[in-house]
């Protein structure tokens, strides 16, 4: 299992995470920022555990994020 961490309040709503990995991300129509689906919130930080099959794609998403607010552990 791997963890994805999303520091959501710094999101600029560029759309790239949703474009690359629509199964884990959605663009919120409410505030225009990306939402990490099924994640748990802890003080504005959103975390989910994902299986190994998501790992490489999640790393690509983290690399593509222009404001560097996605971490894969």
């Amino acid at each position: 299992m791997a963890k994805i961490i999303h520091y959501r309040n710094k999101c600029i709503g560029c759309n790239i995470c949703f474009e690359l990995q629509p199964e884990l991300w959605r663009m919120s129509m409410k505030d225009g920022k990306a939402t990490l689906l099924r994640s748990q919130e802890k003080r504005d930080t959103y975390i989910i555990s994902v299986s190994e099959c998501h790992l490489q794609q999640s790393r690509d998403v983290a690399k593509a994020c222009p404001v560097n607010i996605i971490k894969v552990l």
């Binding site: 999101c11 600029i12 709503g13 560029c14 759309n15 790239i16 663009m27 919120s28 129509m29 409410k30 505030d31 225009g32 920022k33 593509a64 994020c65 222009p66 404001v67």
Partner: protein
């Protein structure tokens, strides 16, 4: 000279800069919120909740406040856009600055005064005429010559082109601050290299770095006269402000929402003084020289007059960062204030302060204030050097708190 009608518009990227602009004599400020502005990456970016406070501060100080909503807008931004505009309307922000047609459309529907951003690259009178159906102020592209600006202003008056308010549409130009390679900011460079779109406020400024040209086949590197081939010097028009005013423009904008309160204070104050000098007939070469010296003390990449005088692009900067002649070094922050005696206490967190040092305080209430530390009171006693952990007290007429930062001003090595 019609100075009294000319509006000096300053950047407010934080509450510190907002107060600095007010103190230095700005007629209006512009600011951005959330991710829908060209400085979305800026650390101090305002949120929707700050709109009310900015509007209040502007109202109390009798200046105008404009909200910048000038990024590209995607479908998922539309609801956020609507919420921001609802707040704008509710709190009486004077206008929205936009280039995307969604913002133009929503402002039009909601009856919110609109300014067309330089991002729309307005470069001719017919474009002005087109946008005048929706807006009251048009910010021209930064790449025009003074002759072109003059012709546009003349035509607005000759044709009687009116904005939504029913008054003649106003023409705004940039007078100071960063320029870039792209036409009025429409740039894709950091998007291509780092997936960071400048048009969503995420510009990584990779154009400001030195580059080599390499032959892909032979790997041979070519020598280029100037390594910083994509980084123009900053626009500075203090020496040609008379010519700009003669063009008939109505609003003069200073760039720099990502820059500090010291930059906002010094640039606004210099241009305020220059406008006042123009009105009273005291706009002299000596004064211009003194203003240039002062403008050089804060963040800059070296100065040129931009494209206004018809110069070809070629005024490149010679270094990656600022060429400011002064440097601010963070020392500590406000820790207490004694209103009865007007004494401010700061806690030194790093470095040291000695008597005779020039101190700079920035904060949401004071803006930017410089003080010379003639006598240093350290932990309640007169001392010769304050270091980490010490508390220093200085007489200061404005309340300070933990948000106020204390800096020491030193001469920059490149100055």
């Amino acid at each position: 000279m019609k100075k009294n009608n000319i509006e000096l518009l300053s950047p407010a990227g934080s509450f510190d800069s907002l107060q600095a602009a007010i103190n230095a004599g700005a007629d209006a400020v512009y600011f951005g919120v959330e991710q829908l502005n060209m400085r979305a990456k800026s650390v101090n970016s305002f949120g929707v909740d700050d709109i009310a406070r900015v509007a209040d501060i502007a109202r109390v100080n009798n200046i105008k406040a404009y909200l910048t909503l000038n990024t590209i807008i995607y479908g998922h931004d539309l609801q956020l856009l609507r919420s921001i505009l609802t707040e704008v309307k509710k709190h009486g922000i004077d206008a929205v600055i936009a280039s995307d047609f969604a913002v133009i459309e929503q402002c039009s529907q909601m009856g919110i005064p609109l300014h067309i951003s330089t991002q729309a690259n307005v470069s001719n009178i017919e474009a002005v005429q087109f946008f005048s159906r929706f807006a009251d102020v048009i910010v021209l592209a930064r790449e025009l010559t003074l002759k072109q600006v003059h012709d546009i202003c003349n035509e607005v008056r000759r044709k009687g082109i009116k904005g939504v308010s029913g008054d003649l549409v106003k023409i705004e130009v940039f007078i100071h601050g960063a320029l870039c390679m792209a036409v009025s900011g429409k740039c894709y460079m950091s998007l291509h290299t780092q997936n960071a779109s400048a048009n969503r406020g995420a510009c990584t400024q990779n154009c400001r770095r030195p580059y080599l040209v390499k032959d892909a086949e032979t790997q041979e590197e070519l020598l280029i006269d100037n390594e910083y081939i994509m980084s123009p010097k900053d626009l500075c028009t203090i020496g040609v402000l008379d010519q700009i005013i003669r063009c008939g423009v109505d609003v003069l904008k200073i760039e720099g929402r990502s820059k500090g309160a010291d930059y906002v204070h010094v640039t606004t104050q210099c241009y305020r003084e220059a406008l006042d000098a123009l009105e009273s007939g005291n706009y002299t070469a000596d004064k211009i020289e003194a203003w240039l010296r002062r403008l050089s003390t804060v963040y800059n990449r070296g100065f040129w007059e931009g494209y206004y005088l018809g110069h070809k692009l070629g005024e490149w900067t010679s270094q990656p960062g600022s060429a400011a002649t002064e440097k601010k070094i963070y020392v500590g922050k406000g820790s207490n204030y004694y209103p009865k005696t007007g004494i401010a206490e700061f806690t030194v967190e790093t470095g040291s302060i000695k008597p005779g040092d020039t101190l700079m305080i920035t904060g949401p209430l004071c803006g930017m204030v410089k003080e010379k530390a003639q006598k240093l009171v350290i932990n309640g006693r007169v001392g010769t050097e304050a270091v980490k952990g010490d508390k220093i007290t200085i007489p200061f007429g404005i309340k300070v708190g933990r948000q106020d930062k204390l800096y020491k001003i030193v001469e920059a090595a490149n100055g």
